[in-house]
């Protein structure tokens, strides 16, 4: 089963995934339409700054078992059997934030959602773009990612590919192949150096 796999070492922090996610979860479904909507649609993937100011895309892991589901006071969180996606029922959510206390990754936000009940704040998180996937599309964040940080594949495939990349990078036989594209590696080095100089 395909799922969104994150390769954080490739992220350059461009935040295009956030724009695409907010657009995908808007009423109009278009970027320009979304900017005019009330409430303003918000991203469910969160690119934060890592320890060295590198980009870090953070999204729901759809854990199994899911701590948020176990902690939900209102019984509003469930898992969709065939896809494994953990979903929040916007009409049962009471906005108590118990899930925020349970989530070990800090990926749940609280705000009014264009697709939820009007004038009410609720817990919002990644839904694996379920409504796009049933239409044969891939999740919006993956579609827009330019660096291969977000991929849509089976975990087995992702692991195999990663293993190959690392093996080649470590290979002593030749020049080797970098595990991360040269441009991305350079950008991260510059950011880290910048930070270290600033802290000196």
């Amino acid at each position: 089963m395909n799922q969104v796999v994150v390769h954080p070492e490739r992220c350059v922090g461009c935040m295009q995934c956030m724009l695409a996610c907010a657009t995908a979860h808007s009423q109009s479904g278009t970027l320009f339409g979304a900017t005019l909507e009330q409430p303003l649609p918000k991203s469910r993937i969160h690119v934060g700054a890592g320890r060295f100011n590198e980009g870090f895309p953070n999204r729901c892991r759809h854990c199994d078992p899911a701590p948020c589901q176990a902690a939900c006071l209102a019984g509003a969180i469930n898992r969709v059997a065939n896809t494994g996606t953990v979903m929040i029922n916007p009409d049962r959510c009471i906005n108590c934030a118990s899930c925020a206390m349970a989530c070990p990754y800090g990926v749940i936000r609280f705000h009014e959602d264009p697709l939820g009940p009007p004038n009410r704040q609720i817990a919002v998180k990644c839904d694996n773009c379920s409504s796009r996937v049933v239409r044969g599309l891939i999740p919006a964040c993956v579609e827009v990612c330019k660096t291969g940080t977000l991929t849509w594949e089976t975990v087995d495939d992702a692991m195999r590919r990663k293993n190959r990349e690392v093996s080649r990078a470590m290979s002593s036989g030749g020049p080797g192949q970098p595990a991360v594209p040269d441009g991305v590696a350079l950008l991260k080095t510059i950011k880290q150096a910048e930070l270290e100089i600033g802290e000196r």
Partner: protein, 408 residues
């Protein structure tokens, strides 16, 4: 195998589900005082506040007992456990035999020692029935007194303020939420509540209630009489342990259990608000009467009862409260009395409207208070629960941009 569960709160319900998950055939009997379908106890404060209807309280289907082939024995409490005879004695004198027993009897509101408690419109805040009665008493009520400045008291006061009543909160201790937060956070919460009309009086106890039929005033220990037409008593809870034979089952404040949720008596387990077990942040036994704790403990107890040995590393206090524009999250030992040997890192405060406080002992996080921007709180909970040494300086963890990526 015959399993008997005393209590049909979330600990008992979670245990029954866990047993059924592993064993389709075992007999399960649930003894419960409340006859209402399994419901979300914390949500009763939303009912008082008016943000959720009473009808939304149930969190299991109507046919819960039937669907899981559980024999319900509802409407009465257990009054004794006959350990030698392997049976539970009920209020009406009948008995229920068991092979494995779970004590998930929960807790009762801590009573107040005052006269006039029989007057109308004096409520505890513990069950769906309490919340229904509170809501029924709201029309016509204008002045309320809330006893207790803990979480229950605050939720009651918040609900009544949202309903438009004038609310006075009487607290015996020095500042509100003193069990949960440090004085800085306590002040921020009190300021917010005061801004919306709450009157808080500290260091005051109640000696009695007066009125004819209905409560009309509260008498305080400093000799005053405060007029009111509604009272909510929220002075915390005490584990239901009266029916437990003390000589045969180890009981401290709660029923003492080991990491497999076993009591000191063979084949008897305990979970939820009645259980006392190691607190991960404090490193000693503690009763954490909290809903998510009860759910987890119940599930683990159920697995162990059904024969699959599962350890529960320990409990952890945690709470989140949303009052008006303030989100308050507390974790673990956020306010240790004696702070020698602890490292305490704080940022923000009343002027910035954001406050973060971390309590660290031997380079491990053991407690935290967050006011506003609480979305990353779960990361801290995981750090406390996993008891991992901190790799990131605490001064960076209290910054606004702190996120999971910085720990990787």
């Amino acid at each position: 195998m015959k399993h008997v569960i005393i209590g049909n709160g979330i600990a008992g319900v979670s245990a029954a589900e866990a047993i059924r998950e592993l064993d389709a055939k075992a007999a399960i009997t649930m003894i419960g005082d409340e006859t209402f379908p399994p419901y979300s106890r914390p949500m009763i404060s939303s009912v008082l506040e008016g943000s959720q209807p009473h009808s939304k309280l149930p969190i299991r289907p109507k046919g819960f007992y039937n669907d899981l082939s559980i024999e319900p024995c509802l409407g009465q409490r257990a009054t004794a456990i006959d350990i030698l005879g392997h049976r539970v004695v009920l209020a009406d004198g009948s008995t229920v035999g068991y092979d494995r027993l779970l004590i998930a009897a929960g807790a009762d509101p801590r009573p107040v020692n005052a006269t006039g408690l029989e007057l109308q419109n004096i409520f505890y805040m513990r069950t769906e029935a309490h919340s229904a009665a509170q809501v029924a008493a709201l029309p016509g009520a204008t002045k309320a007194v809330v006893l207790g400045g803990g979480l229950v008291g605050f939720k009651a006061a918040y609900g009544l303020l949202r309903r438009g009543l004038q609310v006075t909160m009487l607290i015996t201790s020095g500042y509100p939420l003193s069990m949960q937060v440090d004085p800085v956070a306590g002040q921020m919460i009190m300021d917010e509540m005061s801004r919306y009309g709450l009157t808080v009086e500290v260091g005051v106890s109640v000696t009695g209630f007066t009125g004819s039929g209905k409560v009309a005033a509260v008498e305080t220990d400093d000799g005053r009489s405060l007029p009111c037409d509604l009272v909510i008593i929220g002075k915390g809870v005490l584990p239901c342990r009266d029916f437990i034979p003390r000589g045969q089952i180890a009981v401290d404040l709660g029923v003492v259990v080991n990491e497999f949720m076993q009591t000191s008596a063979a084949n008897i387990y305990a979970a939820g608000d009645v259980a006392e077990l190691i607190d991960l942040a404090r490193g000693r036994r503690w009763v954490n009467a909290l809903w998510p704790e009860a759910a987890s403990q119940g599930r683990v107890a159920g697995y162990n009862m059904a024969g699959r040995q599962v350890a529960y590393p320990g409990s952890l206090s945690r709470n989140v409260m949303r009052v008006f524009e303030l989100d308050v999250l507390t974790l673990g030992d956020a306010n240790p009395g004696d702070t020698s040997g602890y490292e305490i890192v704080q940022s923000g405060g009343p002027t910035s409207n954001i406050y973060r406080r971390l309590v660290i002992k031997e380079n491990r996080l053991i407690g935290a208070v967050f006011i506003n921007e609480i979305e990353q709180g779960g990361i801290l909970r995981a750090l406390i629960e996993n008891q991992v040494p901190l790799r990131l300086p605490a001064t960076k963890m209290v910054r606004r941009g702190f996120n999971f990526g910085q720990l990787v």
